[in-house]
Symmetry: C2
Subunit: 269 residues, 2 copies
């Protein structure tokens, strides 16, 4: 039993999709979310900068005496985590392994698509993880740099005159490869599930790494007997590097409801 | 005569449109450009955060013994400058006054459109400045939050299947107002001049604040007899907060040619 909080971080709001999953599944846990909203997005930045920011995010959470960290950011998970995670004693879980494992389990044809930011796709992290779980799979990846700004501008609905042609442009190549499973490798993309699902067709499984990572973390904590007391009520705290008010207002897009818990502004050093 | 350098800053690469103008028009001047590429874009952040970042940008340039600063960032100019500029002795020129003055001079009907980031438009800074230069003008503004990511992804060409419907969506309302002058109130937007010009028609003047600010600064330095020696060759230095190599590669989009001068990475505190 371990009543210390769990830390979750993302470059911005996208990680709230994982946070929501943890809130629902783990009512006894204290959860601390960090969104680096003053520097979002990480997706197009250099590897060195992403590693620097990741260390600052992790060290902020470690200063809150946490027992584990879920990295809800696809870019950090794919670009920085392999190098950074081993620098700390606290267990740090990225989105790559849980999503790759899920995709490897779901696929029948062994043909798996991966979409993400430019850096995530270039890292090849998902491809390597999938090969580890299901040797001989064929992976096909495509960077979708306009998806994040489009989601952040609410362009997520069927029939939207901008998202529809962008989805077609980015995903036609993957559809032509006859993949049967597609990893939505950035925390913003699950908000496009409807439009992407329409385009790819009902036979393609969509995998949301944030949700998979939340489930994976729960399983790992259970195995390590490190869950919080089952008769306690967990608390939720949020930290952001830009305005708390703006965060609170925009969070409902990712949480499906208003967030419960205090939102504080902080600096990362 | 004053041989100290001129400082120019922007949240990222957009200010290179102003830098290019200065490079061409002022061959004798030393120019120092700061692009906060590790935290770009500023456009959607809170007023407090924009003010904090603007102070850090200004203080970095001041540490290089400069004689004047051109703020090439539309968001900083409209949101932060009124408050921040008066905190420093060095003259700081934003894009608002030069662009508003130009628009007030160009318009015949007195009907002027303004496009910019969400914060720039909400600030009302252009509207107020135009009223000052040409009382009785009517101004109409529209935030265009997707223009920056679209430009950064190179979606600037006629016939592009994404930029065309976005331009139509954002600018139809302004076209219906029969404006005869449009301020492209963000340093990225001049790269869309062709597509915007096609949509608005040949009778609408397009004003590029970065270029106007460069011209304004030159005029002011002349008036103050603060130009550099006319027989010297000016140097150009660039500082960025993300990768120098990525900056150098992307700069050609805004400079029409490779940048001449050293690019260094720095931290802002």
């Amino acid at each position: 039993m371990d009543n210390r909080p769990i830390g979750v971080f993302d470059s911005g709001l996208g990680g709230l999709t994982a946070m929501r999953k943890l809130v629902e599944a783990m009512p006894n846990e204290d959860l601390i979310y960090l969104g680096d909203t003053g520097r979002v997005p990480y997706g197009g930045r250099s590897r060195d900068t992403i590693i620097k920011y990741a260390r600052q995010d992790i060290e902020f959470l470690l200063s809150h005496n946490i027992k584990a960290i879920a990295v809800a950011c696809g870019t950090v998970s794919t670009v920085a985590l392999e190098q950074v995670a081993k620098e700390y004693d606290t267990p740090i879980f990225g989105v790559v392994e849980p999503a790759a494992w899920k995709a490897a389990r779901l696929t029948k044809s062994g043909r798996i698509g991966i979409i993400g930011t430019v850096n995530s796709v270039a890292s090849g992290a998902y491809d390597r993880a999938i090969q580890g779980f299901r040797p001989g799979s064929e992976t096909f990846s495509k960077a979708c740099p306009l998806f994040v700004p489009l989601v952040e501008n609410g362009r997520i609905h069927r029939g939207d005159k901008v998202i529809e042609p962008v989805v077609e442009e980015y995903l036609s190549g993957l559809r032509d490869k006859n993949i049967d499973t597609l990893i939505l490798g950035c925390t913003h993309y699950p908000l496009l599930s409807e439009v992407i699902g329409d385009f790819m067709g009902p036979d393609v499984n969509l995998v949301s790494p944030g949700a998979e990572t939340a489930e994976y973390l729960i399983k790992k904590l259970k195995q390590a007997d490190a869950l919080a007391d089952s008769d306690r009520q967990g608390s939720h705290r949020y930290y952001v590097t830009d305005s708390a008010e703006i965060f609170r207002r925009q969070a409902s897009l990712f949480m499906d409801s208003d967030i419960s818990g205090e939102v504080s502004e902080t600096e990362l050093l």
